[in-house]
């Protein structure tokens, strides 16, 4: 130690707990290590991807023929409601929080998150509300059936009159999920603001951290509004208030404002980290610096700001005054500008690069392609006349699945493959990964591309039966959905077998730049401990003969020898 008044003990977060298990059992315990929590989040959420996928396949099985024959229409309502809820609150938010836990501390050179115990508490709320939601399948009346947006008056009807009902449990689960997300957001934002490595100014920070920061800022601003709306809805449902009951002076449209004030930005909570993943993966496998780093970074907060003032475009057809429609149509169109900045920057990064088509790169290329398509249908939907025509049809369903599955989930898979060697210490099997990509890409295209046509022809969403003229599009879509189910097999096989006995991974298998790649694979409990590299450049200096940190050779050697 050269410094005289430096006490290395202050770096130690209050863990690892003495006597805490160091084997697989630590993943089942209340562990405060961000890397353990990250893997806990990702494993739990992938499990619920299977559950949500199974619900989706029952829905698609029902829709393979025009009449409602496979399941009862009431059950069908419960199925799509729970599919949406599970996918958002039990798959996407947790999986992204998992990536945040793994990537943010390692990328900025912090030993752990700012509040390790709060972090663990945020994770352990996930199984609690997961059990609540899953349990609602087994109570009288079944689970919530009002769709994932839970609009009144349908959501406050309670036809069976039980005090404990599916909708009430749904609201409690959403509230718990909100608390968990807020705990997470406070932690991520504080960590990014306060715990960066020496020399890492904001404009030397990896883009994943920029986008995660933006996304968590949206959580902090938007989620409380949804929580407020959910509390009022719960009071209406269970305690006889009339906030959203017109007969008592209430206003059902107010709920829609509360809901979409959060739930539109929630899409950006999910897509922003994926923009970060795109930026990391494209530069690494195209071996080129990121085009327009500063603009791509700042565009993240452009998106954060605009995402908070566009929510009314979900309500164009629910009695919104015309001046409001025009205003929100305009803001909705504007959001294409910062998003376009990012898309053009990625294309310019890829342009003329020598692309290595590894599994993560393939997933990102597929995701980007789908995202551009989804962006175009998004601008269409933001236009008032088109929206009023296709609102509540399968065009909307196809559009948001193109965003959420075809772009976001593909990006999440890319991240899982790209950082798998870093955090498990094993290489995945490239062949299985590529098979997973092909099945996923073909499956998701077959599943949602035809539904745009069905929607334009006027097929309404959320109905178990439909007119036989839409049959062909639905048959193709269902084949695609089952293909996505099959795609889970090579993925699970790959993850389990390569973690168990895959070849050992070197510290930096991809030749990538970034603090996380200067750590051994898997990184030790406290990452760099008290020897954090001093950052001098942003992590996108591919082919520029510049190093990201002072004494880079030393850190590379150290990681190899660990």
């Amino acid at each position: 130690m050269t410094s005289t008044n430096f006490d290395p003990r202050i770096l130690k977060a209050p863990h690892p707990v003495p006597g805490a298990p160091d084997n697989w059992k630590r993943f089942l315990s209340f562990n405060t290590d961000a890397k353990v929590i990250g893997i806990q989040y990702i494993a739990t959420s992938l499990l619920f991807l299977l559950v949500g996928g199974l619900l989706a396949m029952i829905v698609r099985g029902e829709l393979i023929t025009p009449p409602a024959d496979l399941v009862d229409p009431t059950v069908y309502n419960g199925l799509y409601t729970m599919h949406g809820t599970v996918m958002l609150f039990l798959f996407l938010f947790p999986v992204l929080n998992g990536l945040n836990n793994l990537l943010i501390p390692t990328m900025i050179g912090a030993p752990d998150m700012a509040f390790p115990r709060l972090n663990a508490a945020a994770f352990w709320l996930v199984p609690v509300f997961a059990v609540l939601l899953m349990g609602s399948f087994f109570i009288p009346g079944g689970p919530a059936q009002a769709g994932w947006w839970s609009y009144p008056p349908i959501s406050i009807q309670n036809p069976l009159g039980h005090f404990i009902n599916g909708e009430q449990i749904w609201l409690l689960a959403v509230a718990l999920s909100g608390i968990s997300s807020i705990f997470g957001a406070i932690n991520f934002v504080t960590t990014i603001i306060r715990m960066r490595a020496p020399g890492m100014g904001f404009f030397k920070m990896p883009l994943y951290c920029w986008t995660a920061w933006g996304a968590q800022t949206i959580q902090l601003i938007g989620l409380p509004a949804l929580t407020g709306g959910a509390i009022m809805l719960l009071f209406d449902l269970s305690f006889g208030t009339s906030f959203f009951r017109p007969e008592g002076g209430g206003d059902p449209v107010l709920y829609q404002h509360f809901f979409w004030f959060y739930s539109h930005p929630a899409v950006y909570v999910m897509v922003l980290p994926v923009f970060g993943i795109f930026s990391e993966v494209f530069t690494c496998y195209a071996r080129k610096p990121l085009f327009g780093y500063k603009f791509v970074a700042l565009a993240s907060f452009g998106i954060v700001f605009l995402s908070l003032i566009v929510w009314v475009h979900h309500m164009f057809y629910t009695g919104t005054p015309n001046w409001m429609r025009i205003l929100f149509m305009f803001t909705t169109m504007t959001i294409a500008v910062p998003t376009g900045v990012k898309v053009f920057a990625w294309v310019a990064t890829l342009w003329g690069g020598k692309l290595r088509l590894t599994t993560p790169m393939l997933f990102c290329l597929g995701g980007l392609l789908n995202f551009i398509f989804a962006g175009i249908t998004g601008v269409m939907l933001g236009t008032v006349p088109i929206d009023i025509h296709v609102g509540n049809t399968y065009f909307v369903v196809a559009h948001f699945h193109y965003v959420i599955f075809n772009a976001i989930v593909l990006g999440v898979f890319a991240a899982v493959y790209h950082w798998f060697p870093k955090f498990t210490g094993h290489m995945y099997y490239e062949g299985l990964g590529k098979l997973h990509f092909v099945l996923t890409f073909v499956g998701c295209t077959l599943n949602w591309l035809p539904l745009h046509w069905a929607g334009l022809l006027g097929m309404p969403r959320r109905v178990a039966s439909y007119d036989p003229e839409f049959a062909i599009w639905n048959v193709i879509a269902s084949i695609g959905a089952f293909m996505l189910g099959v795609a889970a097999i090579p993925f699970i096989l790959n993850m389990v077998s390569s973690w168990a006995r895959g070849p050992k991974s070197p510290p930096n298998p991809w030749g990538a730049i970034g603090l996380e790649w200067l750590l051994p694979s898997p990184p030790p409990a406290e990452n760099f401990e008290d020897d954090v590299p001093t950052v001098i450049n942003n992590p996108y200096g591919y082919g520029l003969c510049q190093s990201q940190v002072v004494d880079e050779e030393y850190y590379i050697q150290r990681a190899k020898e660990a």
């Binding site: 770096l11 050179g109 603001i193 208030t241 009339s242």
Partner: protein, 200 residues
């Protein structure tokens, strides 16, 4: 750790980062986020007040303002008292801090008591239209925050008796004090919306 391994001797000076004192940053972020719930409730209240055709339920002719006004004065001044307590702590006067901090807690408790007296004298309930609903939702949710604040202050008071408690910093007193100011500011907005606005 710089190991004694010869291959690692590259004239390397370890980069050092001190990681402490994030608690206040995290707490301020939490308060900003928490204020949005109140903002949502205030927005809902204002919308109902402006658009509802029958605002007051039958048989109710508004709220009495006298008792809540006394309550407001007590809560607002308790914020200044909390600040005085904090000053004592900074000067190292531990007993001064404890006594003034306890006075803040008692003023908070009086506020909750006043709220209870007001609630028990009202002729409308939670289900009396949006007027009753928003009134109890806003005052109740705020009251929960006051009770939480008193609880947190009690915890700080208890911790102050631990020997050497303030060796490493103020140990959460600033955060709790900030929370108390937050609860106070929210009440001022709430008071203006619910009690003052009804006259106009």
């Amino acid at each position: 750790m710089t190991s004694s391994d010869s291959s690692l001797q590259l004239n390397h000076t370890p980069g050092q980062v001190k990681h402490s004192g994030h608690n206040l940053t995290g707490f301020v972020i939490f308060l900003c986020s928490e204020s949005i719930i109140f903002l949502a409730f205030f927005a809902g209240f204002s919308l109902f007040k402006l658009t509802s055709p029958e605002w007051l339920p039958p048989g109710v002719d508004g709220l009495d303002i006298k008792m809540p006004l006394i309550n407001t004065l007590v809560l607002v001044s308790s914020s200044f008292v909390a600040y005085v307590a904090e000053r004592y702590l900074h000067k190292g006067n531990l007993w001064g801090f404890r006594i003034v901090w306890l006075i803040t807690m008692l003023m908070g408790t009086y506020f909750v008591y006043g709220q209870y007296v007001e609630w028990s004298g009202l002729e409308f309930g939670l289900s009396s239209g949006v007027f009753g609903g928003t009134f109890y939702l806003l005052t109740g949710f705020h009251g929960l925050h006051v009770i939480t604040g008193i609880g947190l202050m009690g915890l700080m008071l208890y911790h102050s008796f631990r020997p050497g408690n303030y060796d490493k910093g103020e140990m959460g007193v600033t955060a709790v004090s900030l929370f108390w100011h937050f609860v106070d500011v929210i009440w001022i907005i709430l008071f203006v919306l619910i009690y003052v606005w009804q006259r106009y």
